[in-house]
């Protein structure tokens, strides 16, 4: 069985710094990590490998050359192989263009039974690349997977909803996007680290994956960042004073009247 895990290297902070001129992320000086949801995706693939040792886990990402470091860390966690899609032609891709490139990379890996991705990356928070890639590969997808069982040629998954979950049976091959409730990602192991430090991360460019150059990169992207800004924090709220509910209500009405709201 071959499982492909789509991962992304993201800045290690929830407070993303954005260049106000270009609207793009400032990566300098911010340590990079494996996107948290993607770690859950990889963990699920590795658990399948633990149970079925002949499983091959391949991680794939698109990004700049330094994303190799994150891929090495995926190998140190237990992945067999890692592929970096890296090319200036792919730079500035939005989710649509990115999914074109990743789908092409996945096709080149080929012979996959299952694809995992994280729900969304903590930098862009779009949750679009996984689903778009599934569409482009023409295979079924389930997002927000919080529980997973492999049964022969299909999987049974729980898809988290706001107020509950759905149980879905899906035929392989399919794309599943993981949420953090799915599992607890493992740490890199020392033997894994030694293996990873020696193993080469494969780098494929746009020509290697045979992607149509009119469908990738900044110019091909249908969405553009118009403006980025940090929203001003909301002011402190006001607690309406009063000993009883009636008194509080009266004070509230008085305050609203004073501001000519009512």
């Amino acid at each position: 069985m071959r499982i492909i895990v789509c991962v992304k290297q993201v800045p290690d902070t929830t407070e993303i710094k954005i260049n106000p001129e270009t609207g793009t992320l400032i990566r300098d000086g911010v340590p990079s990590i494996l996107n948290p949801d993607d770690a859950n995706a990889l963990e699920q693939a590795l658990q399948i490998k633990d149970a079925n040792p002949d499983t091959e886990v391949v991680v794939i990402t698109m990004g700049p050359p330094q994303a190799k470091e994150m891929l090495q860390e995926c190998i140190a966690m237990g992945a067999d192989d890692a592929i970096l899609l890296s090319d200036r032609a792919l730079g500035g891709s939005d989710t649509w263009a990115t999914s074109n490139a990743v789908a092409a990379g996945v096709k080149k890996v080929g012979d996959f039974d299952l694809i995992f991705a994280g729900r969304q990356a903590i930098d862009g928070d779009t949750a679009q690349v996984g689903p778009q890639m599934a569409e482009k590969l023409g295979i079924p997808q389930v997002t927000y997977v919080k529980d997973f069982t492999l049964e022969g040629d299909h999987v049974i998954v729980k898809r988290a909803l706001e107020d509950g979950y759905e149980v879905l049976k899906v035929k392989l091959p399919c794309v599943l996007t993981a949420i953090k409730e799915l599992n607890t990602p493992r740490y890199m192991s020392v033997p894994g680290i030694l293996k990873a430090a020696k193993q080469e991360v494969k780098v494929w460019n746009a020509a290697d994956i045979g992607v149509d150059l009119t469908t990738v990169g900044l110019k091909a992207s249908p969405t553009n960042v118009f403006k980025s800004f940090t929203p001003k924090p909301k002011g402190a709220g006001i607690a309406v004073a009063g000993d009883t509910a009636k008194e509080k209500a009266e004070n509230l009405v008085a305050a609203l009247k004073e501001k000519h709201i009512i």
């Binding site: 090495q72 140190a76 740490y187 020392v190 033997p191 430090a197």
Partner: protein, 379 residues
């Protein structure tokens, strides 16, 4: 000389930083307060390969060099020195002598379980009347047919009662002094071996230290480790290795206390400004960093010598002295800069202050380190 971390070292440090923050930091105060051996986290670290890092994969080790292993001890000790010494004692003082002096049969029998962390190892040299002066060892062993018979006791033994495998030193010929000491492998289940008492320690309280007692403890003849009468060499060379680990533990404590103090000084305000804005304090932090960084280079250089197969006895002594002295200086200032908060258990520097002291005492006191160095200086 190369002053950069290899990719392997970067990843080991990153993994252990994350592990220590997520798994060890939340329990560090409790295992200290209640003197609890941290079975769960040690089991998790075993799975990650920490209990046999610098040994070859053919016996179940991870196969790193010694420097990378030392960086691991340092990283863990930044958060909790008890975890640091548990891993250190096991690797350097039990696995290492078996790997170095054991017969092929002994290696095959003991190393796989030890290096995978399935069994913990310990080392018993110190006695009530023989610490620094090993010639005063009173535990005796004599051969009776196919068995060695051990009688005596050991004190302050790290891992005592928790460990399954013990390297024990006993006199096989008292008349020869240190040349009459032999090393043995004792198993926890051996009849006549008992652990009557756990010590109530000042620091590193998550690492259990105990008294070991041997009363006509009979072990098979093939449990002799190395040659008869060569036990002192087994002990001293093991301690050479161990001192690098204790140096790393001390360095970790120093760096951990330093980092905690930086964090505290940025948020603690007095006289209308945070403590880092007081030059008297911030300059002192610079001095502390100089001591930590200097000690680190001495330690890494000593490890590097060992990895290259060069003599490392004196460099290891120097490294232990430098790191434990740096740690002593840093924890003192760390508590001082925390003020009253440094003296209560709400902040980790209080524990680090107590944990640090032992690094100047065990696996050779600072005075012994100076003896080793002075011997080299005036040879």
């Amino acid at each position: 000389m190369e002053f950069s971390y290899s990719r392997e070292q970067q990843m080991v440090k990153k993994m252990l930083k994350e592990f220590a923050e997520k798994e060890i930091a939340p329990i560090a105060a409790e295992i200290d307060e209640k003197a609890i051996y941290p079975y769960d986290t040690i089991a998790k670290l075993s799975k990650l390969g920490l209990m046999g890092m610098p040994f070859p994969p053919e016996y179940g080790g991870a196969g790193t060099d010694y420097l990378t292993y030392i960086m691991a001890i340092e990283e863990i000790s930044k958060v909790d020195a008890s975890h640091g010494v548990i891993i250190q004692t096991h690797n350097a003082l039990c696995c290492w002598p078996i790997f170095t002096y054991g017969t092929e049969e002994q290696k095959r029998k003991y190393l796989p379980d030890l290096l995978s962390g399935k069994k913990l190892g310990a080392f018993g040299l110190t006695e009530p009347n023989a610490g620094t002066d090993a010639a005063g060892t009173q535990t005796k062993a004599y051969l009776d047919g196919d068995e060695w018979v051990l009688n005596g006791s050991k004190i302050f033994i790290s891992g005592g009662g928790i460990a399954e495998v013990y390297i024990i030193f006993a006199m096989t010929d008292k008349s020869k002094g240190t040349k009459g000491i032999s090393a043995f492998i004792v198993e926890k289940s051996d009849v006549g071996f008992s652990v009557p008492k756990h010590e109530n320690k000042m620091g590193i309280r998550g690492s259990i230290a105990a008294e070991l007692v041997f009363e006509d403890c009979r072990i098979p003849k093939d449990r002799l480790l190395g040659q008869e009468g060569k036990g002192f060499k087994v002990a001293m060379t093991s301690l050479d290795v161990g001192r690098l680990g204790i140096a790393a533990q001390a360095l970790g404590i120093a760096q951990g206390a330093f980092d905690e103090t930086v964090k505290y000084m940025k948020q603690r305000k007095q006289f209308g400004k945070s403590l880092d804005k007081f030059q008297a304090l911030s300059f002192e932090m610079a001095s502390m960093k100089v001591r930590i960084d200097g000690a680190r280079y001495i330690l890494y250089d000593a490890c590097n010598r060992r990895d290259r197969g060069l003599p490392a006895t004196v460099p290891a002594a120097e490294a232990k002295l430098a790191c434990s002295e740096a740690a002593s200086y840093v924890v003192d200032k760390a508590v001082q800069f925390h003020g009253g908060y440094g003296y209560i258990k709400d902040y980790p520097v209080e524990r680090m202050y107590r944990d640090q002291k032992i690094t100047e005492i065990y696996e050779g006191t600072s005075e012994v380190m100076k003896m080793v160095m002075a011997g080299e200086i005036f040879k």
